[in-house]
């Protein structure tokens, strides 16, 4: 068996050194966010008189509370819609072997290769004509389409590995479709639903391009757009900007640490697909 050898110790020391250099930007971020604008301590030295004033001021000036609500609404609604519609659709795609089913699956998965930039401008025009630009629901509708191929792919590939016995048992018991979905399909796809939720939630929560197009100047900005607007209007007031950056990142990092296992599984799941 391998034991903790000298080489391993060297490797460990090297990794610590790399990690320290790697974390310098995070150190700069934290050190600067607690300084008053007129604090005389040099750039990279922590202040002896830390303040929370930057945080309260950034919170109100950047409208982060409101942006957080927008982000939560958009993310929860989009991911919820995706989980329900994609798992329902994946079920026949995985079970039916007829030609139309294979063709439909190919159509869904083809979407994986389309950069959404192509669809974005026509979508913008359509949404504008429908009066949806500026509202958070335009984003929900859009994400439901753009993220659908990935969800269908993950669910279908997963369902193909689940034995059929389960669903037949449920059908024999006389479950209607809705019951079958709730009591059979959902529990069956639970292991992969974690992955679907995590990958989509992170992508949607962090997306900047779409809100920039659809929500600029609307008062409904999501967090990335709010931070961007704040950064471009408060140009050089870095102490405030840093406070806003910390406030937007800490919740995600806490969520990641709390669900570490599921997150790592989600991000490496492409390997089994």
């Amino acid at each position: 068996m391998n034991r903790y050898r000298k080489g391993t110790l060297t490797l460990e020391i090297i990794l610590y050194a790399v990690a320290i250099v790697y974390l310098i930007p995070v150190y700069v971020l934290v050190v600067s966010a607690f300084k008053r604008p007129d604090d005389p301590t040099p750039q990279l030295v922590p202040t002896t008189h830390p303040t929370l004033a930057n945080f309260t001021e950034a919170w109100t000036s950047a409208n982060l509370g409101r942006a957080a609500i927008s982000s939560i609404v958009v993310t929860v609604a989009s991911v919820g819609l995706l989980v329900v519609t994609a798992s329902l659709a994946a079920y026949p795609l995985a079970r039916v072997t007829a030609r139309w089913s294979r063709l439909a699956y190919a159509t869904f998965v083809f979407g994986l290769l389309l950069p959404f930039q192509l669809a974005l401008i026509p979508l913008y025009v359509t949404m504008r004509n429908l009066g949806l630009v500026g509202g958070v629901w335009s984003l929900v509708l859009l994400y439901a389409g753009v993220q659908m191929p990935l969800c269908i792919f993950l669910y279908t590939e997963f369902l193909r590995s689940v034995p059929r016995d389960y669903d037949e048992a449920a059908a024999l018991d006389g479950a209607n479709r809705l019951q079958a979905f709730w009591h059979v399909i959902l529990p069956m796809v639970r292991p992969i639903t974690g992955t679907v939720v995590i990958l989509n939630a992170v992508a949607i929560w962090n997306d900047f391009y779409t809100p920039l197009l659809f929500l600029t100047g609307s008062g409904n900005a999501t967090l990335p757009l709010a931070v961007y607007t704040f950064v471009s209007t408060y140009g050089a007031q870095w102490h405030l900007i840093f406070a806003s950056l910390i406030m937007t990142s800490v919740p995600i990092l806490i969520a990641f640490l709390a669900m570490q296992k599921a997150v790592f599984r989600g991000y490496s799941s492409g390997l089994k697909g």
Partner: protein
């Protein structure tokens, strides 16, 4: 299946087709009517210096990112796949930035690159004053400064993919190779690397697809500057449509972007398949 198909067609496939059609018009996005201009938008692109610059940047940045991000991810994964004690901690450290909003990371790095910002300060402190630069003022430097930010944020993603790949390499296989007298380098070269092919295929494809669409970091760190030297296809098409109102031209750029993405995917899947046959 209908609701899913509704969203797929309504919000992705039909608008994509529309986009491909607009590419042959001179539509400005506002007026009700437009003219068919045939290949005019594409002809213009060939003569447009900005378009050429953006195309070059997009492809160059994508290729470099595909190579460096996979290399960095593989290195980290191999290092963490050893018997070190801080494995779990290091995995969290290097992966954490992956889940953070790119806008946030880009804003932080814009400050790092300031002429009197932390990078130059640190270089001065460790006696490397000669390396101090105006990182974002020189086109070539600015381009790779953006690449560095993406590497910093997303190499951890590749690390996780390669770690999962390494887990699929059976220990017994390595043990028996060692017993046969193979050194660690040969074991890695002839056993570990070939078994990482599925991970590499996914890693290459993931970075290529996201690299071709790169927008956030450019828009926040340089806004395409200095001059227009760091524009990518994504930032350019955004600007053409929403700053200059040239929707037709903008969708033509999107068509080029799409063709590039399909090309990259086909080439990579081909390479992956050929390797499979050889095995």
């Amino acid at each position: 299946m209908l609701p899913a198909a509704f969203f797929l067609f309504g919000s992705l496939l039909i608008p994509s087709v529309q986009g491909a059609v607009y590419a042959f018009t001179d539509w400005n996005g506002l007026s009700a009517d437009f003219n068919w201009v045939g290949l005019e938008n594409f002809r213009r692109m060939v003569q447009d210096d900005l378009a050429k610059q953006a195309l070059f940047n997009t492809v160059a940045v994508t290729v470099v990112l595909v190579l460096l991000q996979n290399a960095a991810g593989l290195l980290l994964a191999v290092a963490l796949n050893s018997k070190i004690k801080s494995r779990g901690l290091m995995r969290v450290v290097f992966f954490s930035p992956v889940v953070v909003t790119p806008v946030v990371v880009a804003a932080l790095w814009r400050y790092m690159y300031y002429p009197d910002g932390p990078i130059n300060t640190i270089l001065g402190m460790v006696g490397l004053k000669s390396l101090q630069q105006e990182w974002l003022a020189e086109p070539n430097l600015a381009r790779w400064a953006i690449v560095a930010v993406i590497l910093w944020q997303f190499s951890g993603y590749l690390m996780v993919i390669y770690l999962a790949g390494l887990q699929n390499v059976p220990d017994e296989l390595i043990e028996s190779a060692r017993l046969d007298g193979a050194g660690p380098v040969r074991v890695f070269r002839h056993i570990t690397l070939p078994m990482l092919r599925p991970a590499a295929t996914i890693g290459f494809l993931l970075v290529a697809i996201s690299g071709l669409k790169i927008f956030d970091q450019v828009w926040i760190i340089t806004r395409g500057g200095p001059g227009t030297s760091t524009h990518t296809l994504s930032t350019m098409l955004y600007q053409e449509a929403f700053v200059f109102g040239k929707f037709g031209y903008s969708t033509a750029i999107a068509v080029v972007l799409t063709l590039l993405a399909l090309l990259f995917a086909v080439v990579q899947l081909r390479i992956a398949n050929r390797r499979d046959y050889r095995r």
